[in-house]
Symmetry: C2
Subunit: 420 residues, 2 copies
Amino acid sequence: MLKSFIPVEPDSHFPIQNLPYGIFRPLEGGKPRVGVAIGEYVLDLSVVEGAGLLKDTGLPDETIFAKPSLNEFMALGKDVWKNVRAKLQHLLREDETTLRDQTELRTAAIRKQSEVELLLPAQIGDYTDFYASKEHAMNVGTMFRGKENALMPNWTHLPVGYHGRSSSVVISGTDIYRPKGQMKPKDADKPLFGSSQQLDIELEMGWFIGPGNERGKPISAASAEEQIFGLVLVNDWSARDIQAWEYQPLGPFLSKSFATSISPWVVPLEALEPFRTEGPKQDPAPLAYLQKEGPSTFDIHLEVYLKGKEMDRSQKIITTNFSYLYWSMAQQIAHHTVAGCNLRPGDLLASGTISGENKHERGCLLELTWRGSEPIELDNGEQRVWLKDEDEITMTGWCQGDGYRIGFGEVTGRILPVVD
Amino acid sequence: MLKSFIPVEPDSHFPIQNLPYGIFRPLEGGKPRVGVAIGEYVLDLSVVEGAGLLKDTGLPDETIFAKPSLNEFMALGKDVWKNVRAKLQHLLREDETTLRDQTELRTAAIRKQSEVELLLPAQIGDYTDFYASKEHAMNVGTMFRGKENALMPNWTHLPVGYHGRSSSVVISGTDIYRPKGQMKPKDADKPLFGSSQQLDIELEMGWFIGPGNERGKPISAASAEEQIFGLVLVNDWSARDIQAWEYQPLGPFLSKSFATSISPWVVPLEALEPFRTEGPKQDPAPLAYLQKEGPSTFDIHLEVYLKGKEMDRSQKIITTNFSYLYWSMAQQIAHHTVAGCNLRPGDLLASGTISGENKHERGCLLELTWRGSEPIELDNGEQRVWLKDEDEITMTGWCQGDGYRIGFGEVTGRILPVVD
């Protein structure tokens, strides 16, 4: 098995097989730049590039890794990504001396992750959220419309999606303000204004778009994976009471746009290849523009933890898997562009809540507590239906290899107490 | 009445009282930069700024008008906008010699609009579309759900809105590809794929956001107008057959995201002040966060023209008014931010289709032809229900003053024939 000269524990999310990209700023000062995670360290690609170690990869002559976002690198496409990744894997392997033995270069290029601040990996032009889990759509539909009408007629024919808000996509660790807004409790005869009392999480995964497409030129399902630069964890915070009142007929708006948190390290699609697997069988067969040969999803184990103010440690509340999703990333991209919509480098697409068949696999509190009727029992004797002030939510995920993990790190966020 | 040394016809949209901002590139070559329209000319602000004529306005020391977007100027806020506008109005008045009589400066600074290309005025971070016309919501609701259930219960309590697609906002004159997609005709037992046969327009107005707000810090209705940099015309092209099949439960997606056209000149809110007027009475009274003293809308006359391939001139098909909108711009901004969503400089908000009480005031074909049952009769004997290939749509609008107009120019777009 390929190993790095940098020590990496077997349960680390960031072995040499992963090499996810991120944007960081040294805590000691300096500009934001591109890095890759390796074990507990980050390799500063602006230094590696500056030292001339990334030649013959297809990178442009001007510097691309001293930039404060990955957008320009994302725009270069999969051949360049593949070349750069191969070069980095080579530079970091245990028997390669270039970085390992040149002390000055090594010191400049390799920092502890604990000594850097992680920032948003891209300038996100547009953020799109899908609704690709059948179990999630069934559960939500059953709660709101009854079992017979749970799925809308369109659901099994197309990956339902909608435009999210890109301005409020924030990096892991950012505190979350409890939203205020209009809501209409069942027994009220008119709407009222107040703080959301039904604050929820949504466990999702997102992927950043590479070169993208021109307006009016759709991306085929067969070529769609070439557009995927890499994946992150997504927590699409949701205010269910605001959502229930506002969402008809144009969809969720303020109930989602107050914040969406993402994990900082973008895991390259190539790193996930050993974990490629079949998704659920699709019945009815999708229309031709949504068809693609071969397995189209990945076996990514996902977990969610909650830590309340009164709890001395986090408690796992959800375990699920990315491969449960009914619609694949390729299908979501093909659908998104089929009517002519253009995707741009750095655009973020997300899956929607990822749920499975079992109760502990439900990806949001709405489902997990069945709209509040089945509270979660916490180890310290507390219960949870919706998020309380100062609750901290952490999502994590990884692919389990033989002796190594391809991990996503984590996305975490804490609910700030309301200040009036 | 204030006059410019540049000749301006009484029915021109761009007298010295207007001075809308745009981004242009000389046809002869050169970089995109900021200009203002005056009569049939454009004043190159990068030249005016470079000549030191915009001092003491609060502009930063570095150049701001040689940029390819208005975002940085938008971010500076209303005091700077006011100062710059006053200075420009002074420089352009008929009795002011600085520009008028310095031939070299005047030649460098003033070009014919026919000799420049107009570009998108801002880099749009997020585009939000509302649904603020009661007549439009009533008409659409009546067609789809019957008169009794036409308005959703939330409609009179909050300005319903949703996130649009910013990547496909295009400048006036850009050709529009007829979208393809999934749709399910009434008599079909499963969905089919094809070109949209129900291609529509939506007459809207949009406004660009100035400084914006931080996440978690809402903008009050009282201060919301300070955030409005200026207004443009918007044609939110819509594919009704795709929309009908896709929109539940998360709202319109591909039926809108293939293209949204805007007019190039951004009319400053200050130029509209003489035309401020009361909007419709709101009953029930909105919640406190949506209340604002005084008249909150503007008397803007709006028209839509259609020119088919076989027609030798455009024909007017819609006449309506911005002031018919039920929800004001200030209310839409206050609502947008109340749950904590942040707006950024250059964000675009649009009103949704603007309809009035009378048939000729309906702002889209869906309403105008009552879902196809009342075709439009064209002067050349043709009929229209939905847009045909090569149809060209032009929207225009202005405020009529005494002897002058504050105009928005036009937004135009032509439907390209489908190529397979």
